[in-house]
């Protein structure tokens, strides 16, 4: 007889790794997943390596000719301050993606928490949270974000990360409502499942049931949703930066677009100034959307049949 496989308590990490690998290969197996993932890998590497890759510091090196077209010195030309546009795009990728990610994580955490609590506990807790949720769903995002970001702009200058941190918080706080709705409905159906009742019969407390049985079963959904939300938060950051609420010391793609607009680049036909950040935004948003849909198809059994 073959040797019995050993049972160990430390199988968790290996299992998590295997699950991650399985998820990635599932994403890769769909065409849009493949395209999205490739785009994201390229841009993430560029963003992470931007301090090394960028030829100049776009917030400091203003020595060159203003609005010069692409040349061997400046592959993507220079901007209205005479700074290198390629460097700006690389550093901007870092800021845009960091804000997008961080804000989406905040929205995922709040959305999951509110959704689980209101779905599982029900009653007046549910009614209160649903009312708050409704409120966040219907307030027009842009005016509200502009008001908050403007009001707190000065204060945020002293924070670590400056106004970028403020943008992360504002965008994150304003984009969780859809996630919590989704999670709540999933929890409502999960809590009626027999394995939850069985856990109760085993003597588990509500907190235990939420941690061990509800959360693990809603996390894949939250994950898929959060990836989709990243594209929305990146767009939101670009919008707010474009209207002047970005951090001048930490320019994002939106900040670049704002500067291009202010310096009349569009009117003078200096396409090298506004096209690169614009294309960057479009591609990254597309990448997150494609990957998000690919993951959604994996975790949502109702969409699974559509996979081809």
């Amino acid at each position: 007889m073959a040797a019995e496989p050993a049972i160990s308590a430390a199988g968790g990490t290996a299992r998590a790794l295997a699950a991650t690998r399985r998820t990635l290969s599932l994403i890769w197996s769909s065409r849009r997943g493949r395209i999205g993932l490739s785009i994201l890998v390229v841009f993430t590497l560029a963003a992470l390596l931007s301090p090394v890759l960028a030829p100049e510091d776009p917030t400091r090196d203003f020595g060159s000719e203003i609005l010069a077209p692409p040349s061997s010195d400046h592959l993507l030309g220079t901007d209205g301050n005479g700074a290198d546009v390629l460097s700006g795009v690389l550093i901007g990728a870092r800021v845009s993606m960091a804000v997008g990610f961080a804000a989406a994580i905040i929205s995922g955490v709040i959305g999951a928490f509110v959704g689980v609590v209101s779905g599982y506990y029900g009653g007046w807790i549910d009614r209160t949270l649903t009312a708050i949720d409704d409120w966040f769903l219907v307030i027009p995002f842009l005016p509200f974000a502009i008001v908050v970001a403007t009001a707190l702009g000065r204060v945020a200058d002293d924070w670590p990360g400056g106004r970028v941190t403020l943008l992360i918080i504002v965008i994150g706080m304003l984009s969780w409502a859809g996630t919590s709705r989704l999670v709540r409905s999933q929890v409502l159906s999960l809590k009626e499942r027999q394995f939850v009742e069985r856990a109760k019969a085993l003597g588990a407390s509500p907190g235990w049931i939420v941690r061990k049985h509800i959360l693990p079963n809603v996390m894949p959904l939250v994950f898929a949703n959060t990836v989709l939300i990243v594209s929305a938060t990146i767009l939101a950051e670009s919008t707010l930066a474009f209207v002047g609420l970005g951090d001048p010391l930490r320019p994002s793609w939106g900040t670049m677009l704002e500067k291009a607009n202010d310096s009349g680049a569009v009117a003078t036909g200096a396409w090298w100034f506004f096209l690169p950040p614009g294309i960057g935004i479009v591609l990254v948003v597309l990448g997150f959307t494609l990957v998000g849909y690919a993951i959604e198809e994996i975790v949502n059994p109702r969409l699974r049949e559509r996979r081809g």
Binding site: E4, P5, A6, I7, A9, G11, R15, R193, Q194, F195, E197, R198, A199, K200, A201, L202, G203, A204, S205, W208, K212, H213, P216, N217
Partner: protein, 333 residues
Amino acid sequence: MADREHDVSTTATTPLFEVRDLQVHFPIRRSGGQVARALDGVDLEWRRGEVLGIVGESGCGKSTLGRALLGLQATTSGEILVDGEPLEDADLRAVRRRVQMVFQDPYQSLNPRQTVGAQVLEPLAIHGIGARGADRIARGVAVLEAAGLRPAARFWDRYPHELSGGQRQRVVIAAAMALQPEALICDEPVSALDVSVRAQVLHVLMTLKRERGLSLIFITHDLGLAWALCDRIAVMYLGRMVETGTAEQVIGDPRHPYTKALLSVVPSPFPRDRVRREILAGELPDASRIPTGCRFHPRCPAAFDRCRSDDPRTLAAVAGADGHRAACWLVDG
């Protein structure tokens, strides 16, 4: 083992569970305050070390009763006593440690994202039994193997969807047994399983019962199964007990027309001595519209005038048969 035997004899007078006039009503939405009476005055006694069968059609309230015993179902009125103490005063967590439950559908009662190992360790972690790590794992392995999943290491890292129905039900039983309960409530434990694995799972349950002196409740719609496994049987109809007694009494000499009808339709392997089948007319009435008088009278072949007006509320003792009772006006009290 000797200690346990001793326990049984000294406390034999107090039943493990006693249910008195239990009512569970469910409000019906948009009905203007109507209720469905899932349990409508149930009396029951579950003695220590006893295998008690609760038999009835789907919708008669037998699962609701099982869930109510563990406090999983809010009750409307009536009493549930555990060791003579009201359930609402008892520490539910402690009760649930002593009395475990096996659910009907093993496809639904396991968390799809937990491995077999995690499922059997969970009850130990909930109650803080044993030391985290090797000690608990050893206990988990032991209960899995006792439930017939041998070698346990082969199943430990598998997920429920990789197991057959019978194997899943064994995992459920193993997890319940991990707490070393004194009693087990089995709600249709094999009705979702293939006939070929039913016997194996029942064998596991009966072996555990014999070796550990468990008290068992079998909730089932299968009278044959109840007869094979149970010491005593309680027959339920529309939220109330209609006949109780030892398995021999209820199956061998049924007194309530409902029990008789149920028995007559049990398929017999000997078609020649087939008794006259008593096919019940109509369907189980709605629990929100329980008939007046005897609740069984609209379907009863032996109903007479009194049945339409008077409710046989208390079960009448069958003369000359100790403990055999039936809620029927035809049984002389």
